[in-house]
Amino acid sequence: MKEIKFNVNGKTHKLNIKEDERLVDTLRNRLGLTGVKEGCSEGECGACTVIMDGETVTSCTVLTFQAKDSEIITIEGINGENKIHPIQKAFLDEGAVQCGFCTPGMILSAKVLLDKNPEPTREEARKAISGNLCRCTGYNKIVDAIIKASKYLKREGN
């Protein structure tokens, strides 16, 4: 057992963890953040994507001790408690959601892209979500949503 401190969705947590505890399990089972999905357990599908210090990581391949002192954002923390984030709104408006299992990871990958590159091209959007598998949508409406989100965010910034 080992004690670590990290920040998840703006809240600091101190936890005793096992050395081999995976971040996805800590987030889902101990913090109740079940918006983090697990689809393959080997970093291939991207369903468990979270943002760690501004970068996307697949939380099934990160051990929790590696998240020590980091700042983590999950889908639950993307925009506080109530209002939905412009990226979430864009996903709804563009019909980018079907079964929804890949959606939290997709939205977080989109957020990291848009944080760094507020006006991405379709190709850049495709690249940004290339680590997130989706079996339902064929990705195109997700790309549409990312482009739409960049417009929503720009409007909001003004």
């Binding site: 953040l33 983090v36 408006d93 019909g95 079964c99 299992f101």
Partner: protein, 424 residues
């Protein structure tokens, strides 16, 4: 006619819960006092088995090890034939067949207990080739013939038809065995609800049918079982057959505590059905003008160890074997065969997805041999309003295939880029 709501791009009603991460898939549910279940699966494709669970039962934290003996009702399930066992009793028919279900205080203990179950495999000669499996003397996957189903379609006079053809093309096509690869692996939780019902919360395509199959295995009335369909993370046909539903309900019945199980991706691949791989022998003939005159097809589908939807899949393949074309002389044989391969079942298209890999290539081969372009030969033969299919069914309305092809030609210029069937 215009409508207020129909035809409008209403935002999907389940969308908000999904973009916020609040949609609850079965793996997202936890309950107080919950136990965990893990499935022991066959590692041999065809064998008699002898199972010894005593060491696993003695492991601290193990609450139960369920096997065929623990099924109070019927030890079977299946969407058409009841040829699956809930737990294999005497014989396994494929790698991945469920043999036992361990229930323990933690996932780790359940996992460790799997290694303590001793299975003696007395191997039987397996059969993997669907064509050989049709032989009378081949090893039998179930008790009788390996041929599950034979659909015959006969229209016109096939021999006469081919005599009247200007060109005939023949080929054999093979399709692969594929997985649905829905993103959410199978998971579920079972408990006894306030009304005393065995509640099973899963992700399924058909909750009422699951309820029936669970009740039959538990030996209780349907009303004693309740299936709650949580958010479903994709299905595509892969959630038609039962996977963990009965195992969970049996455990809840026996232990009177909530039981949860979550499959890994690997287990998901090994648990649910696959798309039927088809072998399709095709012979198609047309007259000088490119009108289809005769089509003969032999379709063999490997349904693996269990029938699942094989009958419906090979039937659908057979009925659709002509493609969307009027052909006066047709002979189709579509056969489903048991083997010791992973079992095949429903997957997006039910046999109608495999078939065009043959008939559409046949069309292009015919077009080329007759000096026609691919679009023109199709336009000559497609179903239109009033057409009769090869089963004799009249398509009385809503047959806009000509419009579909006309739109395609506007954008891709098939007719213009070919002259005399040769692309410029």
């Amino acid at each position: 006619m215009s409508y207020d709501v129909v035809g409008k791009n209403i935002i999907r009603v389940d969308g908000l819960s999904k973009v916020t991460g609040k949609a609850t898939y079965p793996q997202d549910i936890s309950m107080d006092n919950m136990l965990y279940g893990k499935t022991l699966r066959s590692i041999k494709p065809h064998a008699y088995i002898n199972v010894d669970i005593s060491k696993a039962l003695n492991l601290e934290g193990v609450k139960a090890v369920l096997t065929a003996k623990d099924v109070p009702g019927k030890n079977h399930h299946g969407v058409l034939f009841k040829d699956h066992e809930v737990f294999c009793e005497k014989k396994v028919r494929r790698i991945g067949d469920p043999i036992a279900f361990v229930v323990a205080e933690t996932e780790e203990i359940a996992e460790n207990a799997l290694d303590k179950i001793k299975v003696e495999y007395d191997e039987i000669e397996p059969i993997f080739d669907p064509i050989k499996a049709m032989d009378k003397d081949s090893p039998k996957v179930h008790d009788s013939s390996n041929i599950v189903y034979h659909y015959k379609l006969r229209q016109g006079n096939i021999d006469e038809g081919f005599k009247n053809c200007e060109k005939i093309v023949e080929n054999e096509y093979k399709t692969s065995r594929t997985d649905h690869a829905f993103l959410q692996p199978e998971a579920g939780i079972s408990y006894i609800d306030k009304e005393g019902r065995y509640a099973v919360c899963v992700a399924t395509q058909y909750p009422h049918y699951d309820r029936l199959e669970i009740a039959e295995a538990l030996g209780v009335k349907e009303e004693k079982v309740r299936v709650i369909n949580a958010a479903v993370g994709g299905a595509f046909g892969g959630r038609e057959d039962i996977t963990l539903q009965i195992h969970l309900a049996l455990a809840a019945m026996k232990l009177k505590r909530p039981i949860k199980a979550v499959y890994s991706r690997k287990e998901s691949f090994n648990a649910h059905c696959k798309r039927h791989p088809l072998i399709m022998k095709y012979k198609t003939g047309a007259d000088k003008q490119g009108n289809l005159i005769a089509l003969k097809a032999e379709i063999i589908g490997d349904t693996g160890a269990y029938a699942s939807w094989a009958i419906n899949v090979l039937r659908k393949a057979g009925v659709h074997a002509t493609g969307p074309y009027e052909i006066p002389n047709v002979e189709v044989d579509s056969i489903a065969v048991y083997t010791n391969n992973p079992f095949s079942g429903a997957m997006r298209g039910f046999g109608a997805t495999q078939i065009p890999i043959a008939h559409e290539q046949q069309m292009d081969m015919l077009a080329e041999s007759l000096g026609l372009d691919p679009l023109t030969i199709r336009m000559k033969n497609i179903f239109t309003k009033g057409s009769k299919t090869s089963t004799g069914q009249i398509l009385k309305e809503s047959v806009p295939l000509d419009k579909c092809l006309a739109e395609i030609d506007k954008k891709m210029n098939f007719t213009q880029s070919y002259k005399g069937g040769v692309k410029e």
